[in-house]
Every structure is written in structure tokens, then in C-alpha cells.
Amino acid sequence: MTSAWNPSETDDVIDQLAGIQPGSHLDAVRRHRLQAREQAQQSYLALLAPRAPLSSQWPLNERLAVAAFVAVLHQQPQVQRFYRDALATQASLALGKAIEAEAAQGLARGPYGQYPQGPLSAEDQAGPVYVVAAQNRAVLGERLSAGLAHAHLLAFHPRDAKPAHLQALLDAGWSATDIVVLSQLVSFLAFQIRVVAGLRLLQAHPAPSPSPSPSASAPQPTAEENAA
């Protein structure tokens, strides 16, 4: 375990991971949807730095273990590094290694899965069913092992989800409220990772002339040039 884990209201994690500097063009773009920016941060805090009284007793080290696992599955380098380091502040080296190994063996391409039997069955796509490796179950424990299996389902093939998947979690000791938190965490990460990657890409590929205004832009091409 290294430094502390204390995410704050003000250190916006999406800006940090997307490399958005205060006052930059992308900062202005994000602040155009200010509530979305603030509430994405609040979602992150509610899931990974929850306020008392806690609605779920699901421990922080397991939340960060699932986050680190899901981040690797998405293969977005900045997010992957961030949650791996976050997990290292709260978990043993053995747990960190087990998560890395499980994520590596869980890599796949999604979304795949089956539709209800009928006309959409033609669009069914087969994919792997992830199972935690026997040698990692001891260090992860039954509860977290079940959580990882569910996280993999949500990350890659959510349309395969059935009541039996929730029953497996309940049987492994998860409460209904813990399951809601797990589902929100994995689903939120699917959002956060995509916002980070999308904004990074937008920032790396600026428009030829940003925010053109008629007075500031180069002379307009003539109608003849336009027609060419």
C-alpha cells in the first residue's frame, strides 16, 4: 500500500484523465454542460468515496479492485493506470496482482451476446464466458470472484444478463443493495472511460480553424470556388 486514496470534489477526474487544462478550448466545451461535468464527478465520488451513512457495506478495496479490472478490459491507458494506482493504495500486492492477471485473461471484444429467440437471433454473437482462474480465487475470495464475473458480463455482453446472474451474486453473499452499487460502478466506468477517450481524441484532433467567426476567419472563397 502506498499513498492515500482521497479523491476530492475539486480535482475533476475526467479532466485529469483526458488531459484537459483549465482555460483550454476543451475546458470550455465541457463547461458548456456544467451540470454534467459536476455530476459525473459526483457519481465517481458516490461510488468510490461514498458518504456516511453508507447505503452499502461493500468495501472500498473491492470497489477499486472492480474498477481496476474494468479499466483494463477497456484498454484505455490513462484510465487503466489511474485505477491500478488507486487500487494499490487500498489493497495488498497479492490482490493487485490477482486483478491484473484476471483482467489479462478476461480481455475480449464487445458487445456480444444473444437476443430473445426470434428474428433478432440472426444477430446473436458468440463470445467468451469469463471464469475466475482457480489459482486466484483464494486471494480474491468468493464474493469478489463473483463480482468480477458480473463485471465482465456487464462490460462485454450485457444483453446476455439473466436473473440467474443476480442470483449467483446473492448466493455468493451480495445483498440486493450491494448488487445495485456493483452494477452502477461497472456501468458508470463504461461511461467515464468513453468520455475520457472521446474528449482526448477531440482535443488531439482540433478543427482546422477553431471557433471561426466571420470577422476573424480568412477571406471567404468566392461562389465560383465553392462550386468547384
Binding site: Q39, S55, L73, L170, A176, S183, Q184, H205
Partner: protein, 203 residues
């Protein structure tokens, strides 16, 4: 013995993507309305959402629900510039189509149809899938949404160029990306915590 999930042997699940109104049935008990506290109502944001089994199930973690709902509202409902509402809904519908969320797709296809008045094109997306030809601007929005939805992500500079060539500025592009990203959140919850059902005929 652990808790048991909920089952609906008498409900009929939709077999195709549709713009019709569907029900959604939870696989675990939502909080009973009578047990909702001020903290739960803050998470629900609109008191009327206490009628929804989906939101009362998510209210088991009220702080996350509240932040999720406020994120959703700003991305989709904020009228200040950016991408027109119809096309934010298109991004949501395309994402839901690729992930296979029949319930989410039904809601946001209806919204896309309502705001665009292009119900036939929206239906084409549902019937033919994300490869449907909806004209250059909608094709660019669908392609970017779909690429962002794949895991690992397949979005590249070509998608950004495609959006720009069809008249989207960076504010509109950010709306499209956030709309698609948000439905990667919403789809996973709707798909994994319950099931869609055809509305039962009124007696």
C-alpha cells in the same frame, strides 16, 4: 438462504426492436414507496420517479442515482446550443441498438422520432441495425456512437472528421459523444437489473 430474484412467467418479452411503449420488470425488489426518505427523494430528483420500479431499485444507492440522473438530464435536456435534441436521442438509440437494449432503444427511438419527425429513418435504424443508411449526417452520428460503444473503443479521428464534415462543431461533437457514453451506462443497468415486457392489454 440468500435472497431470491424476481421472475415473471406470465410476461411476454419483445422479440424485436420497437418504438412501442414497453414495460420494464425488475429482477430484485425495488425499495417500497413507503420507505423512501428525503435522501432517497433527492436521489430520485423528480418525486414522480418514485412510481418507477427501475428508479426505486436504483434508489438503494441514492447518491449515485441522484448524480447519474443529473448527468443524464444535462446531456440530453440542456437546450443551450450544441447538438439538436433529436440527434442526442439518435446517439442514445444507436448505442442502445448496438448493445442490444430493446427497452432503452424503444424510449429513445420514440424521442428521436418525435424531435426529428423522421420516424421512418429511426425505424430503419431499429429494423436494419447500425449499418442502416440514414443520410450522411445521421450516418456520421451513428458511426461515432457505435465506435465509442465497442469495447475496446473503436472511435478514431476519422469519426471526428466525419462529424465535422457534416456540420458539427466541437460543442455538438461533445454532446454526441457524451450521449453515446451515457447510454453505455444506462444500457448496462436496464439490461442487467430487469427485463422488458410488452405492455399488457388493458382489460
Amino acid at each position: 438462504m440468500s435472497e431470491q430474484t424476481l421472475h415473471y412467467p406470465n410476461s411476454t418479452e419483445p422479440q424485436v426492436f420497437t418504438q412501442a411503449q414497453l414495460d420494464w420488470l425488475p429482477w430484485m425488489e425495488p425499495l417500497p414507496e413507503a420507505e423512501l426518505t428525503p435522501r432517497h427523494f433527492d436521489g430520485l430528483v423528480d418525486a414522480s420517479r418514485a412510481k418507477s420500479p427501475y428508479f426505486r431499485l436504483l434508489a438503494r444507492d441514492p447518491d449515485t442515482l441522484g448524480a447519474r440522473t443529473r448527468t443524464d438530464k444535462d446531456i440530453f435536456y440542456n437546450p443551450d446550443g450544441g447538438l439538436p435534441r433529436a440527434e442526442r436521442e439518435l446517439a442514445a438509440a444507436a448505442t442502445s441498438r448496438l448493445n442490444g437494449c430493446i427497452y432503452c432503444a424503444s424510449v429513445h427511438a420514440r424521442f428521436a422520432s418525435h424531435f426529428s419527425r423522421r420516424e421512418e429513418d429511426v425505424q430503419k435504424l431499429l429494423d436494419q441495425g447500425v449499418q442502416a443508411d440514414l443520410g450522411p449526417r445521421w450516418n456520421a452520428i451513428v458511426a461515432a456512437s457505435v465506435a465509442l460503444t465497442e469495447t475496446p473503443l473503436a472511435l478514431d479521428a476519422g469519426h471526428i472528421d466525419g462529424l465535422r464534415q457534416n456540420g458539427l462543431d466541437d460543442y455538438a461533437i461533445a454532446d454526441a459523444l457524451q450521449g453515446a457514453a451515457f447510454f453505455n451506462w444506462a444500457n448496462r443497468l436496464m439490461l442487467s437489473l430487469g427485463e422488458p415486457a410488452l405492455e399488457t392489454a388493458q382489460a
